[in-house]
Structure formats: structure tokens, C-alpha cells
């Protein structure tokens, strides 16, 4: 039981990190960025190269990969979203252009690394573990949960206390009003993409480490889980995404333990479907970024 909770928290914190980035962009733009999963995947590969080929220690490779993710996110905005802004069907068009970009990134990765699973070199991942109560907790799990909590707190601080955060919230509420107030909306959106994708990149590296498994299609299943998380949490709600991410992680772990592993994914999507039909606002309503 204790073990399941630890495993669930651990999985859930990765989902939460991924979904936070996802929902941040949705909150600001009302558009789903389906290239988020590609950034997630590319940055896991980046960490792999930094550690495996350039022999950087993991604690140095991680921030580099996260920064790279941020810049990649800005590029995604420039290529796939900014040209479509103001078009009447920009909702569906943005969805599709981000799918296109994800496909291109995946193709590039397959071309360079091949379609097979890659692993981090031995020793890059800490393997020690300790016992807390009845549960065995690996050092890696603790680090991952700690990083996730730190990034969540950092994001909350950024959105609540900084000038950038206030401007991001202003744009989320009304781009028009923000523009009138002299906010450079395009730049704020670009910054949101940076933050969002940096979170996605962090999730990607941690996911790769956690399962010691990096592959070109690793983002696909997480992408759909991420959708479930942000819907469950309430589209655009940061605390909702964090909470729902952890909830989904726990739910999956307990499903595997009690029902069977092949039903793990059914739970996520069953929940997703039910929430949309019964309570489309999600757990924490639609107040979006205003209460972040």
C-alpha cells in the first residue's frame, strides 16, 4: 500500500510537470499545443547525448536540456502558432500545425537515432534506494519528486510574484485588454511557450531517467495522458493540473495493482471522457490562470 502510494506520487509528479506546461499554453492561448510531446521527447534525447556522448554529469545535463526545451518551445510558437493568429479557425488550425511540427521533430529524431529504444549509460542514473516505513524508495524517485515540487513552486512564484507572471496572466485573461495596457502580447506568448516547454522538457528528461527508456514515440502516450490530466484539473488551471497529475499517477498505480496492467490506460481515458461529459469544467473550475 505504502509502496503503491510512493510509486503513484512519483509517476504523478512527472504527469503533473508535463501537464503544467500543456495547460499553461492552453490558458494563455486557448489552443492545444500538440507539439508539446515532441519537445518532451527531443529533450530526453538531448539529455541522453549530453550524458552519454559528452560525458556531462546528470545534474549539469538536466538544466541544459531544460533550457533547450524552452528555446524549442519559442521556435514552436514562431513556426506553428504565430502565423495563424487572428485567423478565424485558428483553434483547429493551430492544433494541426503543431501536429505537423511534432511529426517533423519525430522524423528528425528517428533519422538521427533510429527508431529503437535508447538507454542512459550505466552510472548516469543513481541506483541506491532506502526504506521509508514499509516502502522501498529509490534515490531517483526522491530526486524526481523533489524536482517536480521545486518546479511547481517555482512556477507558482513566477506567475504570482513576478512582472512576467502578471503579464502572462493579463494576456490569459484578455489579450486585447493586455495590448491596450501596453503589454507586448507576442512576446508574452513567446515567454509562456518558453516556460511551458521548459517544464515539458524537464518532464521528458525525468521520464527518460525514471524508466531508463528514451524512444521517438515516448511522447505519444504521455501526450494523451497529459490531455486527461489538464481536462481533469480544469483546462488552464495550474493547481488543477498539478493535482490531477498526481491523482492520475496514483489512480494508474492502483489500477495496475488491483485490476491488472492492461487496464491502466483505460482508467485515464475513462476518467477523461466522464469528466468532459459530466463536469466539463474539471476539478478546479475554469478560473484558469487568474487564480494561479
Amino acid at each position: 500500500m505504502g509502496q503503491q502510494i510512493v510509486n503513484g506520487l512519483f509517476l504523478g509528479s512527472i504527469y503533473a510537470l508535463f501537464a503544467l506546461g500543456y495547460t499553461l499554453v492552453f490558458g494563455v492561448l486557448d489552443i492545444l499545443n500538440l507539439a508539446h510531446q515532441a519537445v518532451f521527447m527531443v529533450c530526453a534525447y538531448a539529455a541522453l547525448v549530453l550524458v552519454g556522448h559528452l560525458h556531462l554529469p546528470m545534474f549539469a545535463a538536466f538544466p541544459v536540456a531544460v533550457l533547450l526545451g524552452g528555446f524549442l518551445g519559442m521556435a514552436v510558437d514562431r513556426i506553428a502558432f504565430r502565423p495563424l493568429r487572428g485567423r478565424s479557425d485558428s483553434n483547429i488550425a493551430g492544433l494541426i500545425s503543431s501536429i505537423a511540427l511534432a511529426t517533423i521533430l519525430e522524423a528528425a529524431v528517428v533519422q538521427v537515432f533510429g527508431p529503437d529504444v535508447e538507454r542512459f549509460p550505466f552510472g548516469a542514473v543513481p541506483t541506491r534506494s532506502l526504506k521509508i516505513g514499509g516502502a522501498v524508495v529509490s534515490e531517483l524517485q526522491i530526486v524526481i519528486i523533489a524536482i517536480a515540487i521545486a518546479m511547481l513552486l517555482g512556477l507558482t512564484w513566477l506567475l504570482r510574484r513576478t512582472r512576467l507572471g502578471r503579464r502572462i496572466r493579463a494576456v490569459a485573461e484578455s489579450p486585447k485588454a493586455a495590448r491596450v495596457l501596453g503589454v507586448d502580447v507576442d512576446r508574452i506568448i513567446s515567454a509562456s511557450f518558453f516556460v511551458s516547454s521548459a517544464l515539458g522538457a524537464a518532464a521528458g528528461v525525468l521520464f527518460g531517467l525514471a524508466f531508463n527508456n528514451v524512444s521517438p514515440d515516448m511522447g505519444r502516450s504521455v501526450e494523451l495522458k497529459g490531455l486527461a490530466v489538464i481536462v481533469l484539473g480544469g483546462m488552464g488551471s495550474m493547481p488543477g493540473a498539478a493535482l490531477a497529475g498526481v491523482a492520475l499517477g496514483l489512480l494508474e498505480v492502483f489500477t495496475v495493482a488491483w485490476v491488472g496492467s492492461s487496464y491502466r490506460d483505460a482508467v485515464a481515458f475513462g476518467v477523461l471522457f466522464l469528466v468532459l461529459v459530466l463536469r466539463p469544467r474539471g476539478l478546479l473550475g475554469s478560473a484558469a490562470l487568474r487564480e494561479a
Partner: protein, 299 residues
């Protein structure tokens, strides 16, 4: 060209021809719901239902193939109604996400169903589909969509797509039309699923994943959704493209898989950015451009 080399050509490309038809039908299934402004991404689930049902009927009943196909067409349409009643109230991205959820649940259901051999799916499905059947189905779908256009229902659909509340104050029962188009799209997808299963000898749940729906959507968007035949043009273009790319990649020395992915992504991006009405609008655009140039010359 001699008749034997023509025959070789046909043997080489007949499966491409078949898949152009199947993908065209699938693209139309996405287009059908899109024609009243609804993006449904449950089409792969409807396709799966059609494929499984028809294959099971083939294995366990002596019913003629035509009856199989009819059941595989009608059942997904029936399933789409209870799905649509709650889900079609959702708008835009929310509808898309809810239908993704439904699609995944259906796929996982089949993965866990022992009766259909779980994740491995059904194999050795007898080949019953001929290419003419695929094109007959595609032709029927095109005919139906062609006749809807310009009809009373067709105008109602366009009105709903442009401004649903305003359409409703004209007396248009938007919910009924949206449900009808969801069911029609589901029927097309189910039929395509059944035809594909009996062409490729198998039904495997992994065929009906989110990736497959994205493919259908991409066909429709690349072809263009402002005219009913646009999605078929897109499907034909993107299905034939890998054949061309295979030749190219062999000469350039790139792996065909990534190149195909890359070109798919690049084509999609280029179309959405520079050709929002799809490649089927290209002839009209070129005509307009030429006319403008002529007029400029004359002036």
C-alpha cells in the same frame, strides 16, 4: 508500353490504389463531422468497431459479404448516437479531446477482449474485399456528400458551421444535424474498417490508435475541407507520396521511414500556413493568379 509491363505496374501499385480509396473514405468520415464545424477524433474507434464486427461475422456466420458490410456500416452509426448526445454539447477543442478519450477507451477495450484475441487481434481474415468494392464505397460516400451540398440540409449544415446560435434562431435543429453528421461519419469509418480488414487479412487494435485519426485529419486538411472532394484529393496525394519517396530515398540514401514522416509533417505545415483551403484549391488559386496577371497586362 506492353500489356505485360502494364500488368507489372498494376501488381506493384494495386495496394497503393486500394489504400488511396480506403484513406479517402476515412478522410471523408472526418470531413463529414467537420462539415458542421465539429472536430470528432473518434473515427478510429468507429473504424475498429466496423472491422471487428465484420471479421467476426465472416468467421462465425455464413452471411454474404454484403450483409457484413451493411452491419459494419450501421453499427458504428448506432454507437455514435449515445456518444454524440452528451458529447456534441462540447465545443471546439473540448469535443476533440472527449472524442480522443472515447477512441482510446474503445481501443483498450478491444486490447483487453479475449474473444477478439486481445492485443494481437484477429488474423487470417479471409480476403473478401476487391478494389472495385473500395471504390464503390468511396463513390457512394462522395455521391451522398455531393447531394447534401446545396440541399436544405446542406444549407443548414453550412449555417451551423458558421454561427450555430444564429442558425438555431432560424429554426434549424442544430443538435439533430450534428448528430446525423456524426453518425454518417461513423458509418463511413465503419465501412472503411470492414473493407480494410478484409483486404489486409487482419484486424489489430494498434491499427486504430490516435495516430490513425491524426492521419485521417491530415488527409482532410491537406486536401482541403471547403469542398467535399478535397479530403479524397488529400488522401490520394499523401498515400501516393511514400511510393515516390521510396524511389527518392533509395537514390539519396536516406532511410525511407523518417523521410516519409518528415515530408508528411512538412507538407501539412506548408498547407496549413500557406494554403488554408488545401491542395484541392490550388487549380482555382492558379487560375485567379493568372487572370489577375492578364488583367494587369491589359491595363
Amino acid at each position: 508500353m506492353t500489356s505485360s509491363s502494364l500488368q507489372d505496374l498494376w501488381l506493384t501499385y494495386q495496394s497503393t490504389v486500394a489504400f488511396i480509396g480506403l484513406n479517402g473514405l476515412l478522410a471523408l468520415s472526418v470531413y463529414t463531422t467537420l462539415s458542421c464545424g465539429q472536430l470528432s477524433l473518434a473515427q478510429a474507434a468507429f473504424m475498429a468497431i466496423g472491422a471487428y464486427v465484420s471479421a467476426i461475422l465472416t468467421f462465425h456466420s455464413g452471411a454474404p459479404f454484403a450483409v457484413n458490410l451493411a452491419v459494419a456500416t450501421l453499427l458504428p452509426a448506432l454507437v455514435s448516437v449515445p456518444l454524440g448526445l452528451p458529447v456534441l454539447r462540447l465545443k471546439g477543442v473540448f469535443l476533440a479531446i472527449a472524442t480522443i478519450g472515447f477512441g482510446e477507451v474503445v481501443r483498450i477495450f478491444f486490447v483487453n477482449l479475449d474473444y477478439t484475441n486481445g492485443a494481437l487481434g484477429l488474423t487470417a481474415v479471409p480476403q473478401r474485399t476487391s478494389i472495385w468494392m473500395i471504390y464503390a464505397a468511396l463513390g457512394t460516400a462522395l455521391f451522398v456528400l455531393w447531394r447534401i451540398r446545396g440541399s436544405r440540409a446542406g444549407y443548414a449544415l453550412e449555417a451551423i458551421r458558421e454561427d450555430e446560435p444564429a442558425a438555431r434562431t432560424m429554426g434549424i435543429d442544430a443538435a439533430r444535424y450534428k448528430l446525423a453528421m456524426l453518425a454518417l461519419g461513423a458509418a463511413f469509418a465503419g465501412l472503411a474498417g470492414a473493407l480494410e480488414a478484409h483486404y489486409t487479412y487482419m484486424v489489430s487494435p494498434s491499427t486504430y490508435s490516435f495516430t490513425r485519426v491524426v492521419d485521417m485529419l491530415v488527409y482532410a486538411v491537406v486536401g482541403g475541407t471547403s469542398v467535399f472532394y478535397g479530403p479524397v484529393v488529400g488522401a490520394a496525394f499523401l498515400t501516393a507520396l511514400p511510393e515516390v519517396l521510396r524511389e527518392i530515398s533509395a537514390r539519396v540514401g536516406l532511410a525511407p521511414g523518417p523521410l516519409r514522416l518528415f515530408v508528411n509533417g512538412a507538407v501539412l505545415l506548408a498547407v496549413i500556413l500557406f494554403l488554408p483551403e488545401g491542395i484541392s484549391s490550388l487549380p482555382r488559386r492558379i487560375r485567379d493568379r493568372l487572370r489577375a496577371r492578364r488583367e494587369a497586362h491589359a491595363a
